[in-house]
Amino acid sequence: MTDTAVESRREARSAGPAPPLRPQNRQFAVLAVLVLLAIPLPLILPSAQGAVAVRILIFLIMAVGWNIMSGFGGMFSFGHAAYFGLGAYTSAYLLVEHGVSPWVGMAAGMVVAAAVAMVIGYFSFRYDLKGAYFALATFAFAEMLRLVTTSSDAVNGAVGYQVPLIQGSSVWQMQFPAGSPAYFWIALVLAGGAVALSILFRHSPAGRYVVAIRDDELAAASVGAPVMRHKLLTVALSGAITAVAGAFYTQYYLFIDPQLAFGSSVSIEAIVTAVIGGIGTIWGPVVGAVIVGSLADVTATLLATPPEFLSFLQGRSGLDVILYAVMLILIVRLMPKGIFGTLADKFSERRRR
């Protein structure tokens, strides 16, 4: 027997146990525990931190949405603000102009975002836009929506929409007194639902096809994976989930305008969150959201009331973007698969030995 044969025999023997047949079961269990642990948070945390917690959940939903298309699907989007904004604007428009409940508006926003994602997707895939070209196309589309809403009187132009205030609180109107824990709980249900959907999708036959198509499109097609259909499904799901974040954002902050909805910083936040946590993993967006969401708050506080030695920061803006950039560079250099992705790899390697 040759050396390599002996070696490969020895290596193979360390192959380790078969993975669980349904890995999603464990993931659902972890999710349930996380949600249960999070429920009392708004009652424990001081109200300023409660607001940070809601912000984290919004980041989480955005990152889960982005991760489905760009992580699982490998189609790098630089324009998820488009779907966030469509969710925000659809629900705001329906509420302000027609008195439609934000819940219905959110569902409508999901449908609109999914439909738009499929149209953009269809043409991008049809004409084989990939990599940087695809990213540019998504960016251009989000920018276009920003410009169109800014200049369109039908949706209040640059002024945007203010959510009409009601007396007291109403679940149906998704409105509560400022600082109410109900906002957090609603965001928690939405974020938990988004993660659950992403677990379900990842381990479904369709989700496995999507990952195979990402890994090698021709090889996947050659064993019967319907490529176009699965790419469209992926972008639709991704857009719909991201729209949820937009619709909730509008209700929570009671205000939306073209820049907040379609601005490139929204796209960047979705990307940075998922990349820092770990692209293409279930928990990456969760880990990323906790980190990026908290940091966003720290930078905001720093800019508003800087300590003595940083007084030059007073009233400036853009610190968060600089921080994102620094974190991105560090993560890409030190942990290329993101925090969760890298740790999970380390762990599974050790277990196999």
Binding site: E11, A15, L21, A212, A219, A221, S222, A225
Partner: protein, 245 residues
């Protein structure tokens, strides 16, 4: 009646005539070897048959229907499945996951899918690697994975692009036995591109010789190897070992 039939298939890459007026016909249950020098157009032929490339002209018929220019997934689902000469594993998946993905279009349910995949993994002798990342496989393992994945898709016609390349002589035997068994037990029709003449002679009912994109000869292995034109174009010189092998 033939199961797979090509007529007048032509394919040009810019100036290069990769396939010119190729006629080919494969009957159900037949084993056809495809030989020819490097760059003869053998892989291009598979690409055209399986929908990875559209021919400039000519037609590909499979099981009585015209599949010319159809999508690869459509052709695969109808039962014509190919392997890749340059192996293309799904890099994020384990060996077993690679295989189970190919069975997905005809098998539902986690248990049944796993069982089906493991059956195939064992059949090609990769069971010790089943739960390791596919990218950790050595070349010989990747070749087997190509075969396993194609088998898991339940081919009626299996098109193999140099599955023996890169295997040690001792490793070739079980693969050759498996291919023979596929025809006997499963009734699979095989078309295989191969440079190793011993394998071609042993397995093929018929051999098709490609040279510079054109069919130089077809016939039984003995007829073809005795053909002076074939000796001249291909057999005279030692087949060049492959860069990717």
């Amino acid at each position: 009646m033939s199961l797979l039939e090509l007529s007048g298939v032509d394919k040009k890459f810019r100036g290069l005539h990769a396939l010119s007026d190729v006629e080919m016909s494969v009957s159900e249950g037949e084993i056809v070897g495809v030989i020819g020098p490097n760059g003869a157009g053998k892989t291009t032929l598979f690409n055209v048959i399986c929908g990875a490339l559209k021919p400039d002209s000519g037609s590909v018929r499979f099981a009585g229907t015209d599949v010319t220019g159809r999508k690869p997934e459509t052709i695969a689902r109808r039962g014509m499945v190919r392997t890749f000469q340059l192996m293309r594993p799904f890099a994020s998946m384990t060996v077993a996951e690679n295989v189970s993905l190919a069975a997905q279009h005809h098998t539902r349910g986690a248990e049944r899918l796993r069982d089906r995949a493991m059956e195939v993994v064992e059949r090609v002798g990769l069971e010790e690697w089943a739960h390791r990342p596919a990218t950790e496989l050595p070349t010989a393992g990747l070749k087997r994975l190509e075969l396993a994945r194609a088998l898991a898709a339940r081919p009626r016609v299996l098109l193999l692009d140099e599955v023996l390349a890169g295997l040690l002589p001792a490793e070739r035997e079980p693969v050759l036995d498996l291919l023979a068994e596929l025809r006997e037990q499963d009734g699979t029709t095989l078309v295989f591109i191969e440079h190793i003449m011993a394998a071609v002679m042993r397995l093929s009912d018929r051999v098709l010789v490609l040279d510079q994109g054109a069919v130089l000869a077809t016939g039984t292995p003995d007829e073809v190897t005795a053909d002076p034109r074939v000796i001249d174009a291909y057999l005279g010189e030692e087949p060049t070992p492959h860069a990717d092998a």
